[in-house]
Symmetry: C2
Subunit: 234 residues, 2 copies
């Protein structure tokens, strides 16, 4: 939407965001190889600039780097999935408590709008967009605290969970998050901190329970096609 006819993304942050989004949006699948030379050609730069970006993604646990083997889109294990979810339960409890204390009507409005958009996307069978908005809800909730550090932490966790959901989600069982989100908003609106915290924990548990924790298989797609919108031919 923003980078249509702009020739190759220039800054390191742009390239980082490009790969990041490609992974979160599911255009690059878990397990897929991210060759340095190949990515360099895609973005029209040398692999010297690609390497630190891959390491940064590795720090974010979005990418796995195997020494002398290369970088791959992370394929979180079931154990890691459980741990990230548990971390979200712990951290987002503090977040929703803080948010409940300071939430104003405009914040609630914003949250309701996200839920509405998510509902709309889901009705339109636009599952990718709906999935993205599901994460956006939690990020927006963190932003209510007015604390950017907290927002960053939550965003990182949500990103990792996006990978998990993409891997282990059952075909058609994700309507529960809509009800969960609405319930969270109601609790916040009521100013009931304990109830909101309780609802958050259960909401995240529900999301976890809705997953199919059998091993997901990485379907390999073309790397170049995922970045086709950049329009840089080798």
């Amino acid at each position: 939407m923003d980078d249509t006819n702009k020739l190759p993304a220039r800054s390191d942050d742009d390239i980082h965001r490009e790969i990041y989004n490609a992974i979160i949006d599911g255009r690059l699948h878990p397990g897929e190889k991210l060759g340095q030379d190949e990515l360099g050609k895609v973005f029209g730069v040398s692999k010297t600039r690609i390497r630190p970006i891959l390491h940064r993604l590795s720090d974010q646990k979005i990418v796995t780097i195997e020494p002398m083997r290369g970088a791959f889109v992370a394929r979180p294990s079931v154990e890691e999935a459980r741990e990230v979810n548990a971390a979200r339960q712990i951290i987002e409890e503090g977040v929703i408590r803080a948010a409940t204390r300071v939430a104003k009507p405009k914040h609630l409005k914003m949250l309701r709008r996200i839920v509405a958009d998510e509902n709309e996307a889901r009705q339109g069978q636009n599952m990718g967009c709906a999935h993205r908005l599901t994460g956006e809800f939690h990020c927006e909730l963190a932003r209510i605290t007015g604390n950017e550090v907290v927002a960053d932490v939550v965003r990182d966790l949500v990103s990792r969970d996006s990978l998990v959901v993409g891997l282990y989600q059952r075909p058609n069982s994700s309507a529960c998050s809509l009800h969960g989100h609405s319930q969270l908003i109601d609790r916040i609106a009521a100013g009931d901190e304990d109830a909101a915290a309780h609802a958050m924990r259960h909401h995240l548990q529900d999301v976890m329970a809705s997953l199919d924790l059998g091993p997901g298989q990485p379907s390999s797609a073309s790397l170049k096609s995922a970045f086709s919108h950049i329009g840089n031919s080798q």
Copy 2:
């Protein structure tokens, strides 16, 4: 001297940790310049390997990178200090609640031991060690949750706060944390989640209040002396 690479092959993580610890322990002061060539000579490697490490430290907000200028030890502003502290209040509330729910006697024992060590260090005027243990207490508290993701998040936040404290701490007003930590342990031992959360918020507020938020001055020390224990000549 024979610099024919007889130092144990240092991994990037080792170098990262070395610089990281030097900053957290206060051997490198906020604002100090971290030249790529200079650091490369210190560790006996090329700046090619130093650069990504500096970027990684920049992601952790421990180092500031000014484009085309270089890297410097981060000198968090008063505003950033407040934000990190606020983030800790939000996140560590969730942490201490989770810890209270699952804490076992051995965990309490570990926490009390850290407080004892901290007290001992403070009596022995070993303020650097005492300061480090103050952070260690909060990290250990996070580890009680059994969740490594949470522990990592807390460690990052505590690290950033270490820089803040090093910059803005008043000469001799840091005994309050001892009482605060003991109180936290008591609340956890009592299994009173709400009281523990309340105590945590106030503890972190107290730490913040004990700071002198006048501008701290960066004292520039020699870069090589900070890594003198590595013993790499030239």
